[in-house]
Symmetry: C2
Subunit: 246 residues, 2 copies
């Protein structure tokens, strides 16, 4: 398996066609896309291209947002945006852990103030699977190749330190892989049968992307094992009633 | 970044020198190790080589183990092994989530009955960093190359479906990477400054390893970004008082 950072995709602005830009960057880098390739795209640039950037000067914080903001020593306008993005507050201690409207549990409901100026924040795309599908279709149109696309975000974790890349949107792939029926070295059926290729690829790609100004927000993965059936990143959400850690 | 599955390492037995076996397999595959390479080794084969395999027929379950076993519909001898491996029971519902004596929070305290026959389970190595260091030293002795080594385990997650590879032992690398001081595209200092190269590499490698009988328990990673300072996988454990999800 090989991960290649795509060069030449830097500051993205509203209305940019990411699929087009990715296809062009690949051609300029002499990088041939193939059917099994997975293109991992950082959520930030997708949010920017789709205009999911909120001007904090236009946000009127509610009283609740004000109270949470002073408790967490945060900007009350940012907290207001977080609350609007949330379907449930999971924890409120040091940071705000929320369930997004898509179902993902993460810090600040995915609201991020990095890589935008100080009066703006980015929010997750409305429908990250659709955003991934749009990129996939543009690549198919431009290069004639049917790749899979993952939208990655960088998130903290419950019991381990260090942020990790995770998949918040997918197109052209099943984010999970069921190994049920396969047998181990002793012929026993496998127990931990569900793996997550989408999250594993997001984690590896975010490592390759790096962070900050020298970062490259698009990574091309070649030779990955995953199922090419259709799927949604919402399939990665553990149903709350099956949640093992609450 | 490139991930290459190492061929020819299959059934491992107690006393096998994994570093030697890995070095020999690399030579047979004509795979040159280089200074920056990371060798990711599945915990199962390390536990087997070190004799961390428990014969359930020799385990006398306590009364507590018996009660938990009937609650979870599990083998009481296996529950007894899990309790012995645990420093804290974090959750007990459907599955047993425990903190291992190393500090990791995971299902069944890392006790695993896959890839061993039905009367045995594997437990995590006593000191996974030391196990990684031993492999690293054997490779250095045999090939003269100073690689980094990660011991990977496959674990479930709090709020997302699908198991992921994580690092339970490291040698020759810092499992975390602090990006503090780096600036984003707008010159702002990065906020989410700590990433986990060790876990990202473990996640990607476990995907390449596959599972079950056709699996390859050793993966060589070339061109990864990480800090070559010394470190311990215990550095990945979020201190319980900083735990954001309880």
């Amino acid at each position: 398996m090989q991960l290649i950072a795509l060069k030449g995709i830097q500051k993205i602005k509203k209305g940019d066609d990411l699929g087009e830009l990715i296809a062009r960057a690949a051609q300029e880098q002499n990088l041939q896309f193939e059917e099994n390739d997975v293109i991992v795209v950082a959520q930030t640039i997708v949010s920017k291209a789709e205009g999911n950037v909120i001007d904090l000067r236009e946000v009127k914080p509610s009283e609740l947002a004000g109270r949470i903001a002073s408790q967490l020593d945060k900007d009350s306008r940012e907290v207001e945006v977080i609350l609007r993005q949330s379907s449930e507050i999971v924890r409120l201690r040091h940071v705000l852990i929320a369930r997004t409207k898509h179902g993902f549990v993460c810090a600040n409901a995915g609201v991020d103030h990095s890589n935008v100026d100080s009066e703006h924040v980015t929010i997750l795309p409305d429908d990250p699977d659709a955003s991934a599908a749009k990129i996939r279709e543009a690549i198919k149109r431009k290069l004639g190749v049917d790749v899979a696309v993952i939208l990655s975000d960088t998130q903290g974790r419950a019991f381990r330190l260090g942020c990790m890349g995770v998949a918040v949107g997918v197109a052209g792939m099943n984010p999970l892989r069921d190994l049920q029926g396969r047998r181990d070295l002793y012929g026993k059926e496998l127990k931990a049968t569900i793996t997550s290729p989408a999250d594993a690829l997001a984690a590896a790609s975010v490592l390759v992307m790096g962070e900050a100004s020298e970062g490259t927000p698009v990574v091309v993965v070649k030779g990955a094992s995953y199922d090419r059936s259709q799927g949604s990143a919402r399939g990665l959400v553990r149903p709350p009633e099956q949640d093992l850690f609450r």
